[in-house]
Symmetry: C3
Subunit: 128 residues, 3 copies
């Protein structure tokens, strides 16, 4: 169910794909997402037609290795689960893609069970 969008800047296909694996493995390990529950949109911006802009809030030095990770998921995860998720994404992004933790920006948006259709025109989490 989580739908993950990852935006990076001139990362190259291999590094982009490694970032996708990092986020997915972190979701599986920390908040119990099934391994096959993988849905990602990965975009590598060229700095011309696609740009990432960033500042240093809250006192973090970033550079063009920055990665934005947007995760949409059902509500219900605890604060501790979310903290574990952030920690693990940062760790695996470094292991798999060489991205330093300071460059890993993550945010979550929650919705409900009825808000997902995995295919076949059905709300699989909320059948009538």
């Amino acid at each position: 169910m989580p739908l993950v969008r990852i935006d990076a800047l001139r990362a190259g296909t291999e590094r982009l794909e490694a970032l996708g694996r990092a986020v997915h493995d972190a979701l599986v390990e920390t908040i119990g997402i099934p391994p096959g529950d993988l849905f990602q949109v990965l975009t590598d911006h060229d700095g011309v037609r696609g740009m990432l802009r960033y500042g240093d809030f809250p006192d973090i030095r970033r550079d063009d290795d920055i990665v934005f990770v947007a995760i949409t998921l059902r509500s219900g995860r605890t604060a501790d689960q979310k903290r574990a998720l952030y920690r693990r994404i940062a760790d695996l992004a470094q292991s798999y893609a060489g991205t330093e933790p300071r460059n890993v920006f993550v945010f979550l948006t929650e919705n409900e069970s009825i808000d997902w259709s995995f295919g076949e025109g059905i709300a699989q989490y909320a059948r009538p």
Copy 2:
């Protein structure tokens, strides 16, 4: 009001546009969106700078014809309206674009009336 993002993989301009029409017609028919209330961002990924990754959860066989449909809309639609919407998107995606229902992934994110400005710098749904 709904803002729709559609992400596909090497779909071609014509099929991408057909998917846009499928989602919009479904919104008009099932949840009462006015025909002119059309706002879509359609992206056709090339598999190199843009990638879609997917698994088989919950036991659905997908392939590279997969389409992700993200809809942001005001809260208030019932569960039955949402179910009808998913059904109709899947049907019309097949009719208009030849996309099989198993490859149509849809999710919704809700916000409120004050969260929309349709232009002119005004919150048209929530004037003071």
Copy 3:
């Protein structure tokens, strides 16, 4: 914290970047975002692999200068703050990028403090 996505159509790098500055300055001026709290994904669609589709709801004449501005931010801003934000984005988009207010479409999605990790694998707004 706000994560801003801006989608435009054949805008060119300079105008796209000007739109980014318009939205950020408006956030700083109207809802108290720190200047360094800048996180944006800007995409210039070519009309072939990326398309924007739009109607005239609610009786606004738009053209291909249309800009979609999606802002994800923490809940807590008042209705008046949001109205001031829309007003200021429209004004600055015109000043900085020559975009007419009728072509500036903005919407907000809210989440909570625990839903943000600015880097280093930490939930900076919600430390344990």
